[in-house]
């Protein structure tokens, strides 16, 4: 077993060990991949207090493609950050694969992100002055994937988003759509269980947006990657199998994209 794989296993096991000690009660059959229970999030203190989430309940099963919609300030980005373990809820609990994320420490949450989650940010958040290939390699470096395999997988991920030939370009040399695709490649390269995307098409024209959405659909159908995606546009939400509508820090509606009020 290569050294990288060994570390990989040890790190995943460390998470599961923490998990068995805190298995949720009354979940006889397979637990949902993601479960939020009465999650609240409060920003600021005193008079400046702002309640972003007021008790969100959300369950997402393995293999779902979920679009999260809602006006700005409705709490969808906050929910996404909590799902991505980038932020912690003020109250309530978050269960990931039956593991209470609230019981994990900083490092364990980092390992959860490393091994199970891929995040596509609204503003791409690529490293500047760094080639597309090196940006995509970054998660693999933290996974300690050996150099040869790392290069191969990064190239494959870039190929999967249609960026073959652009490996040596830095973000400044790429268009917005290309940068977004690099960001998706970076999130995909580790084969995550869940892909969290915050407005992946927000900065793109409709043709590019459709390309990205088709890519996500393929990833969801062929690789079985669970996708949670924030979007403002109903067109984009139409690609998802389920739409969750947020309003004022609560889930207002949860159903198929075709449903209307």
């Amino acid at each position: 077993m290569p050294e990288g794989e060994h570390v990989h296993f040890r790190e995943r096991r460390a998470l599961n060990v923490a998990a068995t000690a805190r298995t949720p009660d009354a979940e006889p059959d397979e637990p949902p991949l993601i479960e939020l229970r009465q999650v609240t999030k409060v920003y600021g203190r005193g008079t400046a207090e702002m309640q972003a989430l007021r008790g969100v309940d959300l369950r997402i099963r393995q293999g779902e493609f979920v679009a999260v919609m809602g006006p700005s300030g409705s709490g969808k980005s906050t929910t996404m950050n909590i799902l991505g373990c980038l932020d912690t809820p003020t109250a309530g609990s978050y269960w990931f694969k039956g593991v209470a994320v609230g019981g994990l420490d900083r490092d364990q949450r980092a390992l959860l992100r490393r091994h199970y989650l891929g995040f596509v940010f609204q503003g791409f958040n690529l490293l500047s002055r760094t080639t597309a290939l090196e940006n995509v390699e970054l998660p693999l470096i933290y996974r300690r994937t050996p150099a040869g395999e790392r290069h191969r997988r990064a190239r494959e991920a870039l190929a999967a988003v249609g960026l073959t030939g652009w490996e040596d370009h830095t973000p400044a040399e790429l268009s917005g759509g290309q940068q977004q695709r690099v960001a998706i490649a970076r999130a995909l390269v580790t084969d995550p269980a869940v892909l969290l995307a915050d407005e992946p098409t927000g900065n793109l024209d409709s043709a590019r947006s459709r390309e990205i959405m088709e890519l996500l659909t393929v990833l969801n159908r062929q690789r079985g990657i669970t996708i949670v995606m924030i979007t403002h546009e109903a067109d984009m939400a139409a690609y998802a199998g389920r739409v969750v509508q947020f309003l004022d820090g609560l889930v207002e509606r949860d159903g198929h994209p075709g449903d209307t009020r």
């Binding site: 950050n81 991505g84 373990c85 980038l86 932020d87 912690t88 900083r106 490092d107 980092a110 390992l111 992100r113 490393r114 091994h115 989650l117 995040f119 940010f121 958040n125 690529l126 490293l127 500047s128 002055r129 760094t130 090196e134 970054l138 998660p139 470096i141 933290y142 996974r143 300690r144 970076r186 999130a187 580790t190």
Partner: protein
């Protein structure tokens, strides 16, 4: 883990070439300045010490009268040859006892003349003053006893009177007598006081006394303390003997002075040491300025770095891994800068030492101190802003303004 951090750190250095170079430059300048200044200062101290050694090691200078301050001395009778004999006989710790008397005379040879010091000496003078004969010979016993008209020239006098000619066997007129040049002294150059040590003519003491000065006086006695003997003891013995011979009763002040070259040596090396410390202080300031430069560069890039750290945390880096990466980056840059600084400093010190004619003194302690200081500065300012960022929640690091 370390290999991974090294990989990440090297990528970070490569993508921030300008920032890396500026950091490096801060360390290089700081380290190089300290090393150059201290090395040159210590070279100067050594140069002074060597010049003092060239005056004669363990040298005591005995003069009649008390030195009472600049240009002032009390009047007292000169020494006689009897005093010299007594010192030679009674104090075995003295390797050489060299009586001397000096006159300022214009020496004439052919059409040239040169005003110089003519010193009457005997055969122990060269030994006491660490002089060596460069050409020709020293005085013979019979020349000394008979007070023959022979002389040995210092390098400056030879140059002024004879130029490129060979002076051995030629004659030099000193007042009424014409002396045959029998030898030449090795050049000593400038003294640490700035006077020309080679501007002198040596003749037998008896010749000076009888044929020039017209007296029996010995104006100065140079005492050279034998190797391994205590100069303090020898000085005390000489003082006691001379007090006895000059009939000075207990409680009365000496009417002569014994000066130790080491006193002068200590004073001079003390002065240069103060200078070295001053240079070191100036250099420390440049080290500090270099450090502040590093700090500025690091603090200016904190926002960018904080966002990057947010990205790294978001894609699964642990706090410890982020910290290790930035620590390795800081250590690599600081040590590289330190090494370049040391190389630059050694090159500059060697060439400057040559230019200023001071010996090159390599002081590994200063090199180590300068290196460590710059490394610590680089690590502190490279590492601590990163640590603050790595402790944030990923989302806060990503949103950092």
């Amino acid at each position: 883990m370390l290999w991974n951090s090294l990989l990440l750190a090297l990528r970070e250095i490569r993508r921030n070439v300008l920032r890396s170079i500026l950091t490096l430059l801060g360390v290089v300048i700081g380290v190089a300045a300290v090393i150059v200044m201290v090395t040159l200062g210590e070279g100067a101290t050594l140069a002074v010490r060597q010049q003092i050694a060239s005056l004669g090691d363990n040298l005591l200078i005995v003069r009649p009268g008390q030195h009472m301050g600049p240009g002032m001395s009390s009047d007292a009778p000169a020494f006689q040859m009897d005093d010299v004999q007594a010192l030679r006989r009674d104090i075995p710790a003295l390797a050489a006892v060299a009586p001397a008397a000096t006159q300022s005379i214009t020496a004439i040879a052919g059409n040239s003349n040169w005003s110089t010091s003519v010193i009457g000496v005997d055969d122990q003078y060269l030994r006491a003053r660490n002089w060596t004969i460069a050409a020709g010979r020293s005085f013979t016993g019979s020349e000394l006893r008979a007070g023959k008209a022979v002389c040995i020239l210092g390098a400056t006098v030879r140059e002024e009177l004879f130029g490129a000619q060979d002076p051995i066997g030629q004659r030099v007129r000193l007042k009424k007598i014409a002396c045959e040049v029998i030898g030449l002294l090795e050049a000593k150059g400038q003294s640490s006081m700035g006077s020309d040590q080679d501007d002198l003519v040596l003749i037998p003491l008896r010749t000076l006394q009888r044929r020039i000065a017209g007296n029996q006086e010995v104006r100065v006695i140079y005492l050279s303390v034998a190797e391994g003997r205590s100069p303090e003891r020898a000085q005390a013995d000489a003082e006691r003997l001379l007090r006895e011979r000059r009939h000075i009763v207990a409680g009365e002040q000496d009417d002569f002075s014994v000066r130790d070259m080491r006193e002068i040596a200590n004073m001079l090396t003390g002065t240069t040491r103060v200078l070295t410390m001053l240079l070191g202080a100036v250099a420390s300031v440049s080290l500090l300025v270099g450090g502040i430069g590093i700090m500025n560069i690091m603090l200016v890039s904190v926002t960018e770095r904080t966002r990057e750290i947010g990205v790294r945390l978001a894609i699964g880096a642990r706090e410890g891994e982020v910290l290790m990466q930035f620590l390795v980056e800081a250590v690599v840059l600081s040590s590289l800068g330190g090494l370049l600084g040391i190389l630059l400093a050694l090159g500059a010190s060697v060439s400057l030492a040559g230019l200023l004619q001071v010996p090159f003194v390599f002081n590994p302690r200063i090199v180590a101190i300068a290196f460590l200081f710059s490394a610590v500065v680089g690590v502190i300012f490279g590492f601590f802003p990163a640590r603050r960022a790595a402790r944030l929640d990923p989302i806060d690091a990503l949103r950092h303004e």
